[in-house]
Symmetry: C2
């Protein structure tokens, strides 16, 4: 069976996020003065072949840990849709 | 009122996504041979001050169009939570 997975990867809350800070400064320069705590992460979409939903979830978790996310500096969560 | 927004930005389906292709190749080299159509986008989280949910949504839409996303090559959608 083919499953679709969406993996959300964000910098850990305690880690500085220079890209988020730059984005926040850009928004303020455009007049969005009331924007705070901008954090920039990644969203990865993929399709994966697996026998069951559980197997698909296990594979996506492993792929996220091994390659998609850097778990030292990032946290991830994901959804798997049949 | 303070609202939290999550903006999801992905490359348009018809646009090549070299980062997604590189990620897919990396996953295959790790043994995830059954992964396809990997696409890499961004997830931006922010907090915004607005009087109403509608105002917050309008501001987030404008911020996404003007700065967060490049609408020529990317599509975005967002959620605004009170």
């Amino acid at each position: 069976m083919q499953f679709k997975a969406i993996v959300h990867i964000m910098p850990r809350p305690e880690i500085l996020d220079p890209q988020g800070k730059a984005t926040q400064n850009g928004l303020r320069n455009l007049g969005f003065g009331n924007v705070e705590n901008v954090r920039v992460g990644r969203r990865v979409e993929l399709e994966i072949e697996a026998a069951t939903q559980e197997e698909a979830e296990a594979k996506v978790r492993e792929a996220s840990r091994k390659l998609l996310a850097n778990t030292v500096t990032e946290v991830f969560h994901f959804e798997v849709l049949a």
